[in-house]
């Protein structure tokens, strides 16, 4: 079975500072990895995904993540955050063969301060 651990429940950061949201996963088989964002009172939307190939993945809104197989990590980064990035961020994993569900981490609340 797969599992996801998001190491920080809350991350406060000042505007224009860099940020890293940490995600570690556990799986005995190959997986796909995702980051989703949830703005207040909205559903989740996909930020970026790793399926195969280059381990550095770029997503929307200036976010990027790096897949590290040896450390089983998929940390999310942004070099300079904006107030509008304040949201809940979820890391997720799914087996890369068909027919299996997506497993989500507990989420990290990013709070960007002026």
């Amino acid at each position: 079975a797969q599992s996801v651990t998001q190491l920080d429940s809350q991350v406060p950061v000042f505007e224009e500072a860099p940020v890293e949201l940490r995600c570690n996963y556990s799986s005995s088989v190959s997986v796909y990895l995702f980051w989703y964002v949830q703005y207040p009172n909205q559903g989740l939307q996909l930020l970026l995904k790793y399926l195969s190939g280059s381990t550095l993945v770029k997503g929307i809104n200036g976010f990027e993540a790096e897949f590290n197989k040896s450390q089983t990590s998929f940390h999310l980064r942004k070099p300079s955050v904006h107030i509008s990035d304040t949201a809940e961020y979820f890391c997720a994993v799914k087996r890369n063969t068909g027919g299996f569900k997506t497993i989500f981490g507990a989420g990290t609340r990013l709070f960007v301060k002026a």
């Binding site: 559903g43 989740l44 996909l46 997720a92 068909g98 027919g99 569900k101 997506t102 989500f104």
Partner: protein, 114 residues
């Protein structure tokens, strides 16, 4: 439709009543998920449908919860004899594993049991 549609968007019910929550997935998506998100909490997996396979019901918290998916499209999540702890946002998502593995989410149904 263009996206995942959930109805109602908000539901207030009295303790002990039954409720039905509806999800219209993206047309052609064979996979459908239900998740529950309690206030300030992460995503709790409830149930997963994939094509004609038997659903993965491993996340349903009690036998008061059930879900069905008719004709491989619309899904209904039913909660019988609602309790106050059932109050949460119920999120539906769908995906097309043959095309791309990421899940697309609806806006959710906010259930309040009074």
């Amino acid at each position: 439709g263009a996206g995942v549609s959930q109805s109602p968007s908000n539901k207030v019910t009295e303790k002990g009543k039954d409720v039905e929550l509806r999800c219209d997935p993206i047309s052609g998506h064979t996979a459908l998920y239900w998740y529950r998100q309690s206030l300030g909490q992460g995503l709790e997996f409830l149930i997963y449908f994939q094509g004609n396979s038997a659903p993965d019901k491993s996340g349903l918290p009690s036998d008061r919860f059930s879900a069905e998916r008719t004709g491989g499209s619309v899904s209904t999540l039913t909660i019988q004899r609602t309790q106050q702890e059932d109050s949460a946002v119920y999120l539906c998502a769908s995906s097309s594993p043959q095309l791309s593995p990421e899940a697309f989410f609806g806006q959710g149904t906010r259930l309040t049991v009074v």
